[in-house]
Structures are given as structure tokens and as C-alpha cells.
């Protein structure tokens, strides 16, 4: 660890640019973390706005606001933005801020790479949304209209929005891979003396598995969309049966990436939740080792279950059975996590500040995602659920209640540490209750319309689905506007507020709480020793 000390000696003489140049050139993990999180928050509102237009269109049967073509663009870009430009950057922002603080490292291992992996994101986000603007000037027919899944041959047939999305995905993928390399190298090489792998904070463990999954699966996605690109423009026939290809090949390649992607989005959150629960239960984390092994098990299982995303495509019976049972097996390590979270609470001394509320909300609602996921694994019942709103509700329980609410847990938990100011607790609680209630008002009806037979991705629907859709739209608008409270609360906290001590929370454990709040620009200049 002598390198770290040497770097520090230089830093005192470094020239620090101000204004925009500071942010463009920064290699500081805290600055980069802040940029990731800010970018994620902005894109969260961009993606949210798109889906509010969709929900407004679906408020009543009939076409009122948008054309079906534009509707298809909105749903696809909503998903791509939320997954690649909101949730993933938010998790990477956490990693940048927290991993060095938590493992006692002065910075990330590869600071310049770090800067680059962030600055690839804005161009990618622009590429993704630019076709909307181009269409206004009569160029092309708008953004990608195939849904976020790019299924061939629809994506071979569609307009230039698909090309833009392909390049955006390439750039986002490069950014993710570089970020992952950075995190792996940091965790493997820069832990404080005495911090063995089995003393590594669970958050870092969660991210470590995520990073490996990203490196394993992003290249497959990149390959798939490149094949798509050559099918579109260079006369290949990977996905065209007339040329000896197979449309289902695309689905295999896409979901080989797409299923692990779910855990890529969730593992950082699963790593974070035990810290929060332990802090507010004032009790050490229960089953640390079990959770580490569960993370590894989920990581492995995640790459061998992909075909459950297209059970209706007509797979051979042995494949159906294999993918059904392997999918069901995921419930076992997940159950270990739930058990450990609840056992961490058990016989603690709990208080319910906003981060704890979000963590508990996460556990309950993510429980619904897990349980509905279990029934979705059943091939025969899936024939009914698949492509219906039941699935839409299911994965929003996983990715909104699991992903987004998990991210909010982390923001409320760590924001006082990052800014040195306590957030407004009243606003935080209001935000939680509005979010939790309106989220359920939005998505519970979608389970029912799905069961009743409403397919997903349709801009208009039969009359028997009207009431549930109206309720869902009302919920979505409350949900969307409640997030403004969150943005306002974050802004207020950054600007000022009650000063907090280094150890923000009474029950907090871990290295990051030994630093002052906010931590100095360069922290852990001398590495702590973990016993």
C-alpha cells in the first residue's frame, strides 16, 4: 500500500481546476460518484416522464394522445433509460462513493478510467434519445420502437432509431465494463490491511459479483446487437430464417445478458440492505457468510436460466423442464437473503428513520417480486402470464420496488455522510409513504389486468380492462410526482441543513463512519488497520 501514500504526497501540489473543467477532468472517486448519481437522477426523471405519457394514453380505451408508433418508442426507450441510464449509473455512483470509504482505500484503483467510464454515459444517453428530436426535423421515424428487447426480425425491419440504440448500448456497455474492471481491481488490491475477503463489507461483495456478471454478459449483448447491425445493413442473415438464420437465436443471446442484468441491478442493493437494517436495528449483520455465498450462488444461477424469458417461443420439452427447475432454484439463495435480513432485525432495537423505512418497504415489495417470479417459472402457468401485464407488474416489483427503492434507501442512508448535512426527515417520510402507496396503486391493478388477459405493449385495450388501467394511471402520476419531493430533499440537503457527526447513525458500523462527514476530498490517506 505504499503506492497510495506516495500518490497522496503528490496531491498536495496538484492544480485543481474549477467550474466545468473540474468535473470534466476529475479523477476523484467522490466527484465521479456525485456525477454518476446526478446523471442517474436526471435520467430517472427523463424515463419517468416518458412512461407518464404512456400511462396517460392508457388512462382510457381509445387513442387519445399518441400514435401507436410513438407509443412503442416510449415504452422501449423508457426501459432502456431506466435500466442503463438510471439504475446502473446510480449503483455505480454508490460504488464510487462508498467502496473506497468502506474498504479503507484512498481512491479507486484506476482513477482516469473512472473518469472516462462516467463521461461515456452522457453521449450514450443523447444517442438513445436523439432520434426523437431528429424525427421532429423529418429525419427518420423516431427512436427505437421494438421495446428494450430489440427482438429480431422486428428490429431488422425498424427505422434508424434501432441503429442509434445499438450504438448507445455499445457505449454504455464499454462504460459498464470499464467501471466493473475498476471495482474488481479496487476491491482485490486496495483493501485496508487486515480486511480479508470475508471481512469485506457486504455492499462491496454485492458489487463484486455484479462486476463479474457485467464482464461476463455485456460482451454477449454487444455481440448480439452487432449481429443485428450487420443483419440490418450488411446483408448477413443471423436472425433471418430465409438466409439460414434463426430469430430465436437473438432471444437466446439477448437474455443470456438480460437475465443476469436483473441481478446486476439488484446485487448492489442486496449488498446495501443488510448494512441499513443492521444500523437501524443496532445489531450486527446476521449470517454474513451465508449472504456472501448466496450472492455467489445467485451470480452463478443467473447465467444458466435465461430461456425462461421466452418459454412461449416453442422450446423442446427437456429445455423447458431444465429452465423451469433451474429458475425455481433461484428462490433458495434469495430465501437465504430474506431470512438474514429478517434475522438481523430480530431482537434488535429498531428505529424507523427514512432509510430504514425504504429498506423495509424494499423487503416487503421485493418479496412480492420474488414470489410472483416463482410462479412465473412454471412453464404451463407462464403460458398464461407471459407477455401479459402480470409480467409487467412482476418486474416493476423487482426493479422499482427492488432497484429504485433500494437506491433511495442508499441515498437517504449515505447522503448525510456525503454532504455533512442531515436531510429533512419529514419530507423523507412523506416521500416514502407516497412512493410505497402509489407504487402499489400503480402495479397491483396490473397483476389483475394481466391475469384477465391484457397483453403488454399495446397502446389501446378492450373495454374490460378499463377500470384497472384508470387506477393504475392515477397511481403512476402520484408516484411520478412524489419523486419531485425526493429531488427537492436531496437538493436541500446538499445546500445545507443540520450538521452531522462522522458517525451519522447511532447503530452504524464500518470504516466509512470513522471519517468526518463530509469526508475530506482525499480520504484514508493513511490506510486504517482492520482487526
Amino acid at each position: 500500500m505504499s503506492t497510495a501514500t506516495a500518490t497522496h504526497a503528490h496531491d498536495a501540489h496538484h492544480y485543481h481546476p474549477y467550474g466545468i473543467l473540474r468535473w470534466l477532468t476529475t479523477t476523484n472517486h467522490k466527484d465521479i460518484g456525485t456525477m454518476y448519481l446526478t446523471f442517474a437522477l436526471i435520467m430517472f426523471f427523463v424515463g419517468g416522464l416518458m412512461i407518464l405519457v404512456v400511462r396517460a394514453e392508457l388512462f382510457q380505451p381509445g387513442l387519445q394522445m399518441v400514435h401507436p408508433e410513438f407509443f412503442n418508442q416510449l415504452i422501449g426507450v423508457h426501459a432502456l433509460v431506466m435500466i442503463f441510464a438510471a439504475l446502473m449509473p446510480a449503483a455505480t455512483g454508490f460504488a464510487n462513493w462508498q467502496i473506497p470509504l468502506m474498504i479503507g482505500a484512498p481512491d479507486m484503483a484506476l482513477p482516469r478510467l473512472n473518469n472516462w467510464s462516467f463521461w461515456l454515459l452522457p453521449p450514450a444517453a443523447i444517442l438513445l434519445t436523439l432520434p426523437f428530436v431528429l424525427a421532429l426535423f423529418g429525419i427518420g421515424d423516431g427512436a427505437i420502437a421494438t421495446g428494450w428487447t430489440f427482438y429480431a426480425p422486428l428490429s431488422v425491419q425498424s427505422g434508424l432509431g434501432v441503429d442509434f440504440a445499438i450504438f448507445a448500448v455499445h457505449i454504455l456497455g464499454i462504460s459498464s465494463i470499464m467501471g466493473s474492471i475498476n471495482i474488481i481491481v479496487t476491491i482485490f488490491n486496495m483493501r485496508a490491511p487486515g480486511m480479508t475477503m470475508m471481512k469485506l463489507p457486504l455492499f462491496a461483495w454485492g458489487w463484486l459479483i455484479t462486476a463479474f456478471l457485467l464482464i461476463a454478459t455485456i460482451p454477449v449483448l454487444a455481440g448480439a446487437v452487432t449481429m443485428l447491425l450487420t443483419d440490418r445493413h450488411f446483408g448477413t442473415h443471423f436472425f433471418n430464417a430465409a438466409g439460414g438464420g434463426d430469430p430465436i437465436l437473438f432471444q437466446h443471446l439477448f437474455w443470456f445478458f438480460g437475465h443476469p442484468e436483473v441481478y446486476i441491478l439488484l446485487l448492489p442493493v442486496w449488498g446495501l440492505i443488510p448494512h441499513v437494517v443492521s444500523t437501524f436495528a443496532r445489531k450486527p449483520i446476521y449470517g454474513y457468510e451465508a449472504q456472501v455465498y448466496a450472492f455467489c450462488a445467485i451470480g452463478i444461477l443467473s447465467v444458466i436460466v435465461w430461456a425462461h424469458h421466452f418459454f412461449t417461443a416453442g422450446l423442446p420439452v427437456p429445455a423447458l423442464l431444465y429452465f423451469m427447475y433451474s429458475t425455481m432454484a433461484i428462490s433458495l439463495p434469495l430465501a437465504v437473503l430474506f431470512f438474514c435480513w429478517i434475522a438481523t432485525m430480530w431482537r434488535g432495537a429498531m428505529t424507523f428513520e427514512t432509510p430504514m423505512l425504504f429498506a423495509l418497504g424494499f423487503i416487503v415489495l421485493f418479496g412480492i417480486a420474488g414470489l410472483t417470479g416463482l410462479v412465473l417459472a412454471d412453464v404451463a402457468a407462464d403460458a398464461q402470464y407471459h407477455h401479459s401485464y402480470f409480467v409487467v407488474a412482476h418486474f416493476h416489483y423487482a426493479l422499482f420496488a427492488g432497484g429504485i427503492m433500494g437506491v433511495m434507501t442508499g441515498v437517504y442512508y449515505w447522503l448525510p455522510k456525503w454532504t455533512g448535512h442531515m436531510y429533512d426527515e419529514k419530507l423523507g417520510k412523506l416521500h416514502f409513504w407516497l412512493t410505497a402507496i402509489s407504487f402499489n396503486i400503480t402495479f397491483i391493478p396490473q397483476f389483475f389486468v394481466g391475469l384477465a388477459g391484457m397483453p403488454r405493449r399495446i397502446p389501446d385495450y378492450a373495454l374490460q380492462f378499463s377500470e384497472f388501467n384508470a387506477i393504475s394511471t392515477v397511481g403512476a402520476f402520484v408516484l411520478g410526482f412524489s419523486q419531485l419531493i425526493f429531488a427537492w430533499n436531496v437538493w436541500k440537503t446538499v445546500r445545507g441543513g443540520r450538521k452531522v457527526a462522522g458517525k451519522v447513525w447511532e447503530g452504524a458500523r464500518g470504516l466509512e463512519w470513522e471519517l468526518p462527514s463530509p469526508p475530506p476530498y482525499h480520504s484514508w490517506e493513511t490506510q486504517p488497520v482492520v482487526k
Binding site: P68, Y151, A241, I248, K283, T312, M345, R347, R456, Q464
Partner: protein, 419 residues
């Protein structure tokens, strides 16, 4: 509890009698009613899908019409009960802890981090064992049988129906009798645009229904011509993708005569939401009569190809065809929706030559486009789906209407010879 028997009939859910579908009337709401506060509370705990699985079905799958659908419904109800119980038990423990182990009631935090004693290990492993049992026995075994049942399309199949998905309609073929027709959305565009009151079967009605005999096992073969579509009738309990260039299959055995409605379930472009599936199941004798009638109609249409049509006849017929097949993209007035769906009014292609001087098809000409489509776009090869009369009529119509006035025409017999 007995598992599925060989005939694929229902699970005997004696243990679950309290959840019997038909008997309990107290919780029956009016169909499509807005759920009350009780419904919401139930929904919050996922109780609703299980408890509300009652006769009105607005909270659950629609009434099953095939053995597969009935099995799926039973299995689904059973699974919903299982996961509801899991949910309630797990979160009851959590909520108990949240109430008892809070700082404000003076709880002192313990410091255990894992199971120590044998008893503790026992309590840790019990839920794990229970989950293994639920996954692979309680749910896994019925699911296993259901998969085999669902994929057994061939045993004792009485007839075959071939379904071809195309943007944005379905073609149905009966290989046994040679019947072949296209089924498109019948809901008037004015209803969709909110200009007109919406009918009872809004978006779930077609011009030509598929007619199938009730009580017969029908093997359904699926394919597509352009992109992937998914054929889905919720009451049949089957959903299968129609994939261009490949054949997929499933089966239905509709128990009762009636009309069953569904729609395409895989995003297939602009009008994905507007390609319904309507199946009319009729008693066997009625089905035989329908087949005979349909054959006569087809023969008449084929005969039409050999007679000489006047231009006005062709234009009148062509308008009909255009509005059903072409107006979705090229619009009723021929303006199209550029750039994806070019306009026909004043189009260079439509106003180009009809045939070469030798009477052959000119590559990339109007007729070539209509007959063979354009690869890589939504423009499909209509020679596969339209008859000679319809092709001749629609081409003549497009050249002499929609603001075009080429003045020429083509006879069905010419189309026939060009095939």
C-alpha cells in the same frame, strides 16, 4: 391431494375446498367493478389473486374453455395460495419483530450473528427444506405434468389448423379441406379515434372468425411471414409464438361451443394492439356445414379469376380490399405515414409502368411490390395471402384512385399467369 391424472383433468383440490371457485357468493363483485378498500388491502398482501378467484373472474384468469386452461387455472390458484401463505408468514414474523423489537419500547439489541445451537440450526434449516419441498415437489410435480400435457400436440389430434401471423392480421388454413382466409380487426377506426361509441367487443372483433369444432383436439401449427407474433386466447390457456421461417405448435380442445377472444401478445410493430384472435367453436355438424359453405365460396372466388372484369368492377372490389389490407399503413386516403409507410398518392412506383411490353413482371414495379413485398420493411408479399381477383382489384384501384389516374388496369387472369 391428488395430482393430475392422465386425461389431463383437474387437480383434486379437496384440501383447498374453502377456495372453491363457484360456491362462495359473498365476495363476488360486479364484473369490472372498482375494488373497494377491502380489495386494496387484500391486494396489498397478494391475497386478492387467491381469494378473489371466483366466478366473475375479473380478478383472475377468464373462465377456462379447454382442459389445459382449466388445469392452468387450478395450478395458478394453488400457487397463489402457496405464495400468499409464504408472504403472510414471513412478513408476519417481520412485522412482529418491528413491533416488539423497537427502541421506543425499550428493546435492548442482541448481538447474535448466526445460528449457534442445534436448535437454532434446526430453525434455520426448516424454512430451507420447506422451500425445497414447495419448489420441486408441491409446485414442481404438477408443473412437470402440465408441461408434458401442454407439449403433447400430436396424440389423438383430430384435425390441424395452421395459423400464420403477419403485420397485422392472422391467416388461417385448414389443410384437410383447403380452406384459407385472412382475419383482420373489424372494429371501425372511428371507435379507436373516439369519434364513435365503442362496441361491446371493442378491439376483440374480426371480419372472419376461425371456426373450430367443439370437443375435438385441434393441433395448431404456427408460423409468421414478417416478424414474430404470438397467438393467444386467454380462455384456451395456450400462448405460442409464431416465428417467421419456423413452425411451432400447440393444441386446443374447446369443450363448449361459443366465441373466444384473444389477441397478439408479442410486440410486432405499429398495430400490435390491433390484431385480435376470434375463435368460434361450434358443434360438429355445424362445423361440417361451415366447411362446405366455405368451400363453395372459395370455388366461386377462384372462378372469378377466369372471367373478364370491367374496370369499375375491379375498382369497386379494390376499394374493399384496400381498406381492409392496405389502409392500416398507407392510410385510407393514400397519404401513408412517411417515412416508414410511404404514401401511394402520386407515388413514382404506383404511377410507373404496370407490366413490361412482353407482359412480364418488372422488378420493383407496383405489381412486384404488391405481390412480392419489399424485404426488410413491413411491406409484405401479398401473393401469399390474397387471391388473383383481390390482387388485380387492389392494384387497379390504387392506380385509378387515391389521387392517382393512370387509367390502366390488370385482369385477375393475368395475375394468375404471373404467379
Amino acid at each position: 391431494m391428488r395430482l393430475r391424472n392422465n386425461s389431463g383433468s383437474a387437480l383434486a383440490l379437496d384440501d383447498w375446498k374453502i377456495f372453491d371457485l363457484e360456491e362462495d357468493a359473498t365476495l363476488k363483485g360486479a364484473p369490472n367493478s372498482v375494488p373497494g378498500i377491502g380489495g386494496w388491502l387484500a391486494g396489498l398482501t397478494l391475497l386478492a389473486p387467491a381469494l378473489e378467484a371466483r366466478a366473475d373472474y375479473s380478478w383472475n384468469f377468464p373462465p377456462p374453455a379447454t382442459p389445459l386452461a382449466r388445469d392452468t387455472l387450478h395450478m395458478h390458484n394453488q400457487f397463489m395460495i402457496v405464495i400468499t401463505v409464504l408472504f403472510v408468514v414471513v412478513f408476519a414474523i417481520m412485522i412482529y419483530s418491528m413491533i416488539k423489537h423497537r427502541k421506543s419500547v425499550g428493546a435492548q439489541p442482541a448481538d447474535f450473528t448466526g445460528p449457534k445451537s442445534r436448535l437454532q440450526w434446526f430453525w434455520v434449516l426448516v424454512p430451507f427444506a420447506l422451500l425445497l419441498y414447495i419448489d420441486f415437489i408441491l409446485m414442481g410435480i404438477p408443473a412437470f405434468h402440465a408441461v408434458l400435457d401442454m407439449e403433447d400436440t400430436k396424440t389423438k389430434a383430430d384435425m390441424v389448423l395452421k395459423v400464420t401471423g403477419m403485420q397485422w392480421k392472422w391467416q388461417y388454413e385448414y389443410p384437410d379441406s383447403g380452406i384459407k382466409f385472412i382475419s383482420t380487426l373489424a372494429t371501425p377506426r372511428d371507435q379507436i379515434a373516439n369519434q364513435e361509441e365503442k362496441g361491446e367487443h371493442y378491439l376483440l372483433e374480426v371480419d372472419n372468425e376461425v371456426v373450430l369444432p367443439a370437443g375435438k383436439k385441434v393441433r395448431v401449427l404456427l408460423t409468421a411471414t414478417d416478424v414474430i407474433h404470438t397467438w393467444w386466447v386467454p380462455q384456451f390457456g395456450v400462448k405460442r409464438d409464431a416465428i417467421p421461417g419456423f413452425l411451432r405448435e400447440t393444441w386446443v380442445k374447446i369443450e363448449q361451443p361459443g366465441v373466444y377472444r384473444g389477441q397478439c401478445a408479442e410486440l410486432c410493430g405499429k398495430d400490435h394492439g390491433f390484431m385480435p384472435v376470434v375463435v368460434r367453436a361450434v358443434p360438429e355438424p355445424e362445423y361440417v356445414a361451415w366447411v362446405d359453405k366455405k368451400k363453395v365460396e372459395l370455388a366461386a372466388a377462384a372462378a372469378g379469376a377466369d372471367k373478364t372484369w370491367t374496370k369499375d368492377e375491379l375498382i369497386a372490389k379494390g376499394k374493399e380490399v384496400y381498406e381492409k389490407q392496405c389502409a392500416v399503413c398507407h392510410q385510407a386516403n393514400g397519404q401513408g405515414l412517411p417515412p416508414a409507410f410511404p404514401g401511394l398518392t402520386g407515388s413514382k412506383i404506383v404511377n410507373g409502368p404496370l407490366l413490361s411490353p412482353e407482359g412480364r413482371l418488372i422488378p420493383d414495379s407496383h405489381l412486384d411490390r404488391v405481390m412480392n413485398g419489399k424485404a426488410g420493411t413491413a411491406m409484405q408479399a401479398f401473393k401469399n395471402t390474397l387471391g388473383d381477383v383481390e390482387l388485380a382489384a387492389v392494384v387497379t384501384y390504387e392506380r385509378n384512385a387515391l389521387g392517382n389516374a393512370k387509367g390502366d388496369m390488370i385482369q385477375p387472369a393475368q395475375i394468375k399467369s404471373l404467379r
